[in-house]
């Protein structure tokens, strides 16, 4: 028996994305045939507005060229409209008689523009705004005529009006509602938008209804008459009053439709052999018109077509962005609110900034931003995550974007950046390069940007900026995944949380068993998931799950830091930053014996020996006779200390002594990411405890503990956790806090990111309020660290010797 046959009707973005997902999962499952009514291969409909505005060409917005279809063996029928589905014989027939048999049929017929039922709506010069043909007609009319009327002040209407104005036409927008974008904006934001569009030369007639379109002498439309009698000259009329799911074909075939082709959560229609995705679909009574939900639908449909059968589409929350260059506007969710909601607003009419956030039960449910939309993606993420915001409520309106504060000249608002401005300081990627890649390569996610431009792929401090650029370029098409639902990597659809839960619930103790149970798509994962799984296993089942050296990246495998030339650096441990004459002498001897080219003091109060050949590592460790500083690991790094009451005339507590105690307790602790501590002997805080994962500040009556600080990509000031009296309490609270992080944090999540996700109050509840739980957490940490080992001493004794020896031929 040959391959099964899949026929797709409709060659638009949702349908082709479904095919792409399907080809990824099961490239050989089907012989595929595609029918498209338009004469073009799949293009990015979202970018028709920049084409109309003269900012891009048609060629720029093609997503899948003819070669793509050929490469995947897809039979493509362009310019052929399917007229009939013969469900009995499982065959579709096009208007020119072309037929195709199917085992599975995918309907992606999209939507039709709604034409107002007024006299004259079929005159020449009256068009909709939907496809390349409409766009061409507008560009053509702009060259030959003067007056345009756009009926409808929604997203499409305004983008059309703006484009026509830029092409020199005199444009009036006629809108039925009292303000523009009444489905996306409240009245205040709508008026602000109107003002800035008026400044660009557009005219508006609001609260007006069209009565008829009047033909001129040539037979072409010449004027629009409104219900109140007003007549506007118009040689071009663009109807942009809404779209209707295109269900004619499905209805004629007897498939159940109600405001769209009705599908279940697996995107299956009432005929089990027929699936449907995109704007033609009604899912739980909703037909979506933005591309992000349609891509989610496509992913689910592909999963079922590939016989995987695990995806469910459960509906989407959508956000909106108007793609008119220079106008920043963002809205999402329920931005009107009601009796049970509260609002936080900022209204600076002169400055052109308006922000409104709608909150219900301490959760963000909607918002409108005008003039300053930099934090739009962040708000949208909070909304999708349904995160409890009461802790951050007092500064919610001022935003707290994920933008790191270094590496991009302090820029935090993508819209205000010039094309030449550097976005990614690690890889030297400018805003212009990213925008170009988004447009020309058809990128839709942050991961796409990372892969294609390398921006945000190193330190990640510009990830927030890249997200802003993405959302500004493709508008509502960009939807970040809810953060606790982001897949671990491309090998699986499961999130970090799901993986952690499964490991615990199913008592999984090996990487193989996790991959088998969660149906990993690859045989042995990748460099992203394997280290994460290794950590989750060891932290969930200490003593039972075995460390897998092959799932450690090179630094943790070699127990030294790889450098750009392939040599390594060695940082021996100096407890609390203290050393001795004997240690210094040995370090000096090692440096001479192995001809160490660079010796440097680190920020963590230690000494770094750089430029050591891998074959020399074991000898260096043996001669040093000092334990590993773990300067290479997702583990406890250092406890930085000031000289404290031991020497300092201001000191109130023995900072060095406390630091050494903490560092000894935590030695060899493996964690989701690196962990740094500091202890200062008085509030002058010379050890800079305010930017550490755990910062301890001595005061006359005891110690204050601060948590979640960070001094790197994004400077984050640590937050107060608790005040305690004794050294023992410092060890217990700090230990319990770090154990909670170890048990709950996602791999590569620093304490500040983990706290941002779960909230400081959660950590306080578990560590400060709940004494029993605190003691249990601390006990678990101590039990795990009971068999802490010095990896350097083990390797000197012969462990993993192969790792350090080269073969010679």
């Amino acid at each position: 028996m040959g391959r099964k046959r899949l026929v797709m009707v409709g060659n638009g973005m949702a349908g082709v994305r479904t095919l792409e997902e399907l080809l990824k999962l099961a490239p050989d499952e089907y012989g595929i045939t595609v029918f498209g009514a338009e004469p073009h291969p799949n293009y990015n409909r979202i970018l028709l507005s920049p084409v109309l505005a003269g900012e891009m060409s048609i060629q720029d917005i093609i997503l899948n060229d003819h070669a793509w279809y050929a490469q995947h063996g897809i039979t493509l029928h362009l310019g052929k409209k399917v007229e009939r589905i013969d469900r009995l014989r499982r065959r579709v027939i096009a208007d020119d008689g072309t037929g195709a048999d199917y085992d599975r049929l995918l309907l992606a017929t999209g939507s039709n523009p709604f034409m107002l039922p007024v006299p004259g709506n079929d005159l020449p010069g009256v068009i909709s705004y939907r496809d390349i043909a409409d766009t061409d007609a507008m560009i053509d009319a702009a060259q030959r005529y003067r007056h345009a009327v756009v009926i409808g002040g929604g997203l499409l209407g305004l983008e059309a009006a703006n484009g026509l104005r830029l092409r020199g036409m005199d444009v009036t927008v006629v809108h039925l509602a009292d303000w523009l974008l009444e489905r996306q904006l409240d009245e205040t934001a709508g008026r602000m938008l109107q003002r800035s569009l008026e400044e660009r030369g557009l005219k508006f007639l609001l609260g007006k209804q069209t009565e008829m379109l009047i033909a001129g002498a040539s037979g072409r439309v010449a004027a629009v008459r409104l219900k109140d009698g007003l007549e506007l000259p118009a040689e071009l009329v663009v109807m942009a009053v809404g779209i209707r799911p295109n269900t004619a074909l499905a209805e004629a075939a007897g498939i159940h439709c109600q405001r769209g082709i009705v599908v279940n959560d697996t995107m299956q229609t009432y005929d089990p052999k027929i699936y449907a995705v995109g704007e033609c679909v009604a899912h739980r009574g909703i037909a979506y018109g933005l591309v992000a939900p349609l891509f989610e639908q496509g992913k689910v449909a592909a999963n079922h077509l590939a016989n995987f059968g695990i995806g469910r589409y459960t509906g989407s929350v959508t956000s909106t962005k108007l793609k008119v260059t220079g106008i920043d506007l963002f809205s999402a969710g329920d931005f009107f609110g009601g009796k049970d909601t509260e609002e936080i607003t900022l209204n600076d009419a002169a400055g052109g900034v308006y922000k409104k956030l709608v909150i219900r039960d301490n959760r963000l449910v909607g918002g409108v931003l005008y003039g300053d939309t930099a934090d739009g993606p962040w708000y949208f993420q909070l909304l999708r995550d349904s995160q409890d915001i009461h802790e951050i409520r007092d500064h919610l309106l001022f935003g707290q974007s994920h933008v790191g504060d270094v590496g991009h000249q302090g820029h935090s608002k993508a819209a205000a950046m010039a094309d030449s401005a550097e976005v990614c300081g690690c890889n030297g990627v400018s805003k212009g390069v990213i925008v170009k890649a988004i447009k020309e390569k058809g990128l839709f996610s942050l991961d796409d940007i990372k892969q294609h431009t390398k921006a945000a792929s190193s330190c990640g401090s510009c990830a927030g900026l890249c997200e802003q650029i993405l959302s500004a370029t493709i508008g509502g098409a960009y939807t970040p995944a809810a953060s606790n639902r982001k897949p671990v990597c491309g090998c699986t659809d499961h999130s970090h949380q799901e993986v952690r839960d499964a490991i615990r619930a199913q008592h999984l103790v090996s990487i193989d068993s996790v991959m088998r149970f969660l149906e990993w798509r690859t045989d042995d994962g990748c460099e992203k998931c394997r280290p994460a799984l290794n950590y989750y296993l060891i932290s969930t089942w200490p003593g039972e799950a075995r460390d897998d050296p092959r799932s450690r990246l090179i630094n943790e495998r070699a127990h030294a830091n790889i450098q750009k030339d392939g040599t390594y650096s060695v940082v021996p441990r100096m407890w609390g930053g203290l050393t001795s004459a004997a240690e210094l002498r040995r370090i000096a001897d090692v440096a001479e014996k192995y001809q160490v080219p660079t010796i440097k003091l680190t920020g963590g109060q230690r000494i770094d020996l750089l430029g050591i050949r891998k074959e020399d590592l074991i000898g260096v460790w043996q001669d040093l006779g000092m334990p590993s500083g773990h300067a290479y690991g997702k583990s406890i790094r250092t406890v930085k200390t000031c000289v404290g009451a031991e020497h300092c005339r201001f000191g109130t507590q023995l900072a060095m002594d406390m630091g050494v105690k903490l560092e000894r307790m935590l030695f060899d602790m493996y964690s989701p990411h690196k962990v740094k501590l500091a202890v200062s002997g008085c509030p002058r805080n010379c050890a800079e405890a305010g930017i550490k994962d755990v910062g301890v500040i001595g005061v006359d009556s005891g110690y204050e503990l601060y948590v979640g600080g960070n001094g790197g990509i994004k400077t984050e000031v640590a937050q107060f956790l608790v005040k305690v009296k004794s050294d023992e309490e410092v060890l217990e609270y700090a230990g319990a806090f770090l154990q909670l992080y170890r048990e709950e944090g996602f791999y590569l999540e620093r304490t500040c990111h983990w706290l941002e996700r779960v909230g400081l109050e959660h950590a306080k509840n578990r560590v400060v309020e709940d004494e029993e739980n605190r003691k249990a957490l601390h006990a678990r940490l101590l039990a795990e660290l009971q068999d802490a080992r010095d990896p350097w001493a083990e390797r000197v004794a012969g462990v993993e010797r192969n790792e350090y020896e080269a073969l010679i031929v």
Binding site: D524, C526, I554, L807
Partner: protein, 102 residues
């Protein structure tokens, strides 16, 4: 092509791991996959010269330890969208001994 040389036993290379072979023509990385297939590439990433032998092996690919480029072990080609290639050396395993053609 040059002569075949015996370099080590299969079990001297960890599964999902690699070894460096020092040769007069420069370092060569020899990899062993989970399916016990053995491949050899010049130990230099086409991107910035990172030692591929120190990377993480998964499927028939290795991820470079320096900047995360992925290279196909069977061809030495970088995985798209990256572009570049590292030289491939023929390898064969006979009765547990690994031979490399230099």
């Amino acid at each position: 092509m040059g002569e075949w040389k015996s370099i080590c036993m299969l079990e001297d290379i960890p599964r999902l791991g690699s070894r460096i072979v020092r040769s007069t023509g420069g370092d060569i990385a020899v990899f062993r996959t989970s399916a016990n297939a053995v491949f050899a590439l010049r130990d230099q990433c086409p991107h910035k010269g990172g030692p591929l032998s120190q990377g993480l092996v998964h499927g028939n690919q290795v991820t470079c330890p320096l900047h995360g480029w992925k290279l196909r072990l069977d061809s030495g080609e970088a995985v798209a969208p990256d572009e570049g290639c590292s030289r491939r050396y023929p390898v064969r395993v006979e009765s547990g001994t690994v031979f490399l053609q230099l």
